[in-house]
Amino acid sequence: MTHTHSDSDPSSVPISHSRVVDAEDQRAIVVALAGQPNVGKSTIFNLLTGLSQHVGNWPGKTVEQKTGSCVHAGHRLRMVDLPGTYSLTANSVEERVARDFIIRDSPDVVVAIVDAAIPERSLYLLAELLLLPAPVVLVLNMMDVAEQEGIQIEPQVLQAALGIPVIPMVATKRDGLERMLDAIVAVADRSFPYAPRRPTILPDHQEVLSRLIALLASHVPDPYPPEWVALKLLEGDEGVWELFREVAPEAIIDEAYAMLRQHEDAVLDVAGARYAWIGRMIRAAVVRPRVGQVGLTSRLDTVLTHPLWGVLALIGILGVVFALTYAIGIPLQEWLDGLFGGFAESLQDALLRVGTPAWIPSLISDGLIGGVGMVVTFAPILVIFFATLGVLEDTGYLARAAYVMDRFMHLMGLHGKSFLPLLLGFGCNVPAVLGSRIIESRRSRLLTILLAPLVPCAAQLAVLTVLGAALFRDAAGVVVWSLVSLNLVVLAGLGWLLNQFVLKGEQTAFIMELPLYHLPNLRTIALYVYRNLIAFLQKAGSVILIASLVVWVLSYFPSAGDVSQSFIAVFGRALEPLGSTMGLPWPFIVALITSFVAKENTIATLGVLYGDLGPALPALLSAPAALAFLVVQMLFVPCVATVAVMKQESHSWKWTLIGTGILLVVSLTTGVLVYQIGTGLLGG
């Protein structure tokens, strides 16, 4: 047994090696990857697991769980990517998930990935991990960024100080991966002399900690080490307190409570002692840059976080993102659209020729291919949009965007972080709603989810561009621009109202790390694109498929394909009084209703009902009615896929329906106002 732990050190925890892996055993070595956000953890995980990875949710949590496996030197390694966390307190769901996994599932090795460019701060997580009962391998990632910022680290010196394997790495260049895998195997099969130095707590609280450990030693749930539970209680950890209260007898709880009340300040001491420990560990191993040496990050940030230049830079950068997206994406989208259209048509012809009943070809080409195909044609636009955003994210820029937008987000009672999911919404509202997970407080997350549908998605923008051009010809540019602005104004206004009167609550803390700038990594960006695109396509494959079949049934029956006599037309005509308040004939109302399935449907429905849109449209609508229609379609209820994820992420039908209902009312009211005022002005 090479593990040392002195009894005088109350925070040391014995290492359990109950699940030893030897060469005969085919059991995999279970490896948990831990690290803070922006540390390249995902890059390392992807390099190791490649296509073997499985993405799901942690049981009962809206936190992504990624697992995968790889083989190294004859051992199978099962990798579990823990959520990115700065520490292991109960401050967030992610932190609870990470520590519960390490304690309850006892992985064979935990890999702590830290940012070599900010060794002091990022070793804090290691200080916490070393107190848990699993051996740790330390990876110093982003050694290149550290060098660029003038920080030199000697890994062997740090390894000697810590007594655990320390591996330098540049994951973006695959540098250090082999050595890390060697170290994992060496720790798992105990060929590495693993003898960690663990942080201790300051003398002021040592006595109370010992008493606490003695008090609750036999009153903690099974896999939890009493020393760790006691330390966490001293830190005021709510999660551990709940855990303890469930199993301990009343008298013990009361006694512990009294002790903790007297040491409420201990949290700072415990954290301070960990940082003091880090200071001792890195003293000999890290050389800092000379004072006054200005790194790349500081130089870029003079502009990018400036209150004026920063905002202008953001506008310029987003301008480039949109220009690229649409310059490359739209032609691709049109090409795919033609491809699907041609395919559907020839399939329909072929089926008719073999003599199938008339409704089958229509179901396949209009219902299936038409519905899902149209959604899929948006994939190129989304790939380009998410790829450009992925570059901005991976270089570290998006954190700056959140910072400069913070002032504006405050008007809605949100802070800068909410800007990031909303930005995704310009691609597709589904990943925008999913992206709200980065926001810590439930209130802000809910508010962001409710506002996300007001960000015009790629499909809505496409509809706006096509119809704007058809309806307004030369003035189309102004109209498109004003309507996008209107959406953002309504978003801000609704956010303000909800914050003032409905979702009242304390301003939540804005605390966000600004990572050092670094070169983007292709794999990380590819993964970012893939994740966001899959979120979109999965919905297209399920929810939108079902919904487009329903619409097909309603528009095909009972009139055997004559849309103008179908159920949907009957329904549309019934709503004609509503349409007339906006100057809209019933097909436009039907188009809005089908846009609930997918926003692109607006054009398709009008195309079916009116034939060729270009020449027909301007004759059908007066200018105020045309404007009213575009306003309503931009502000209308989100598509069914977005509603589905709103429910999933808010865990609440009530809020999903409230959010959708508000948009229904707001869009129709604005439409009526636009038409009535417009007609009044033109008529009067």
């Binding site: 701060r121 700072l268 954290a271 301070g272 301003q507 605390i511 966000m512 790390e513």
Partner: protein
């Protein structure tokens, strides 16, 4: 003692006291704001969030949060 919110860009100080709920204090402590830690203000425009450098990392803090961190100001500007 002066709150971090009131320091100008370039000023620095060592953390003395943090006010506020346990959750906030615990989060800040994990990020390196512990008594004695040296904090340098990188950006502070008098409105909007500020950026500080602590333990080698750059952290954006809302004004509310910055106002709760009291520091002993260091005389010399860094």
């Amino acid at each position: 003692m002066i709150s971090l919110e009131r320091l100008h860009a370039g000023d620095s100080g060592s953390v003395a006291v943090m006010e506020g709920g346990h959750r906030l204090v615990s989060r800040l402590a994990a990020l390196g704001f512990t008594p004695g830690a040296l904090v340098t203000v990188v950006r502070n425009h008098g409105h909007g969030p500020i950026i500080v450098s602590v333990r080698g990392a750059q952290i954006a803090l809302g004004r509310g949060e910055a106002g709760r961190i009291m520091v002993h100001q260091k005389k010399e500007r860094v």
